[in-house]
Amino acid sequence: MNTLPSRYLQLQGISHRFGYQRVLSDIALTVHPGEAVALVGPSGCGKTTLLKLAAGLLDPWAGKVDNHFSRTAMMFQTPRLLPWKRTGENIALGLKALGVGKHERQLRSAKLARRMGLTPADLDKYPAALSGGMQSRAALARAFAVSPDLLLLDEAFSALDVGIKSELYALLLSERALNDSAILMITHDLMEAIRLADRILVMAGSPGQIVIEERIDLPAQARDEDWLFTRTAHFLRCPEIRSAFGLPGTKKENQS
């Protein structure tokens, strides 16, 4: 059913500026159903702006955003849980907005939370009583609670330690498979993009543009650590990527 072109996200000819400062120039990008796309780039290249445009939180200065997915969820850089609601209520908030009844949404969010490694006792606590890792799990659970067919990730894992990161990657991949969600993620961590994405778009420059597109055909579940390190190292030797991130020694790498 996902071969139908009825659900997709398409950005065409997107340019954006804040005041007189141009931040994005002529960006085109399509996310197909079930596909994971990563936007990688150095800080300040306009990644976050692009994601906000895709989410509809900003209106583009020029160009068109077509979101034909039926339900879009977003996970932010910080968990953004409401401090005055218990964790369980936070997870169920999107369901409440959809008009799901109280009992039903408690049941569904508790089930999802259990898969995320949150105990019923955790759900009864206020977010401030949870550790950072637990808060991120709750934020991921809140995003997946509405069974989104498009999930937007705004550097959602950048502030976490490697252990929690790899657990959340696994949870993300399994929930994604369960809901058959498409993903559009932005990150400055190349290895994260290579681990999770089917397609990697590298952004650079000011105003930001997409400079390279790279497809990864190995399914995300089949990618192991060795493969990941090799692929990342290979990626980092690519001169366009080196110059995009402003890494030194672009010429030397060219020779080898």
């Binding site: 879009t72 409401l82 401090p83 401030a128």
Partner: protein, 273 residues
């Protein structure tokens, strides 16, 4: 907070927090008794014409309270203070939130609020006497005008500081306007409003007595004026005790438990403003 979920667990946690609240009263009682001791010592030195001892004052108070007329005075004062306070609670909260939503309105209101805060209540009282004469209008108006800026500023700050991140979140979750109000805006603004309300309530009690002392024939303020003219220090002290007691009653039996109930999440979140 580690109580098991479900109704029995919640009940247990609720009764536990009531007990904890009552237990926390011992500290306040201890400091109150220390204060009484100091008062007593001072009264011994100065003599009872200038400063009656706490026991004497309490005895006078209990004698006063046997008179139904005294209860009437207390009720009149409480009615005036609460009317003015509730008026400014309603108008101030609503106006402050509206001013907080609009940048223009909050910029325009700032100097006016500064003016209102700086204006001494006694000046308002003189104006109110000219406008309303010697009735309920004068103390109620003075209380309203003295407490309004406090509540207005609290409501405005609360609305202005609502996180843009939470706005984005509520948009992404597709919250309806009603849900934005009940789940995002109100809980946030309440945490600014409550301290403002409590401050305003204290102000209301002080101002109403001042207004009564100068403008009316009944109420605690008028009773104070009478006992002053009779050079009756013990009954002056007794009236002051009645005043402070009724304020503490309203604050700790009504507002504080309500605040604890609504803001139970905050005990985990002390780092926030």
């Amino acid at each position: 907070m580690n109580a098991p979920p479900g109704l029995p667990g919640r009940l247990l946690a609720a009764s536990g927090s009531v007990l904890a609240y009552l237990w926390s009263g011992w500290g306040s009682l201890a400091s109150l008794f220390l204060f009484m001791a100091a008062w007593h010592a001072l009264a011994m030195v100065l003599g009872s014409l200038i400063l009656p001892t706490p026991v004497e004052s309490l005895q006078t108070l209990s004698r006063l309270l046997h008179d139904p007329l005294a209860w009437e005075d207390i009720a009149i004062t409480a009615r005036r203070a609460l009317t003015g306070f509730l008026l400014s609670l309603g108008v101030g909260s609503a106006a402050g939130m509206i001013a907080g939503i609009s940048l223009t309105a909050s910029m325009m209101s700032r100097p006016i609020v500064t003016l209102l805060v700086g204006m001494p209540p006694i000046a308002w009282l003189v104006l109110a006497l000219l406008w309303f004469g010697a009735g309920d209008g004068t103390p109620v108006f003075t209380v309203f005008v003295a407490t309004f800026p406090v509540i207005f500023v609290g409501a405005m700050q609360g609305t202005r500081t609502l996180d843009g991140q939470l706005r984005e979140l509520s948009r992404m979750l597709g919250l309806s306007f009603a849900m934005k109000l009940s789940d995002i805006y109100l809980p946030h603004v309440l945490s600014y409003l409550f301290p403002a309300w409590i401050t305003a309530l204290g102000t209301a009690w002080k101002v109403v007595v001042m207004a009564e002392l100068l403008s009316t024939q009944d109420g605690i303020g008028a009773a104070l004026a009478i006992s002053r003219s009779h050079l009756d220090t013990p009954s002056s002290m007794a009236w002051i005790l009645a005043l402070v007691g009724s304020l503490l009653g309203v604050e700790y039996l009504l507002l504080e438990p309500l605040k604890r109930r609504l803001e139970s999440w905050r005990q985990w979140d002390e780092s926030r403003p």
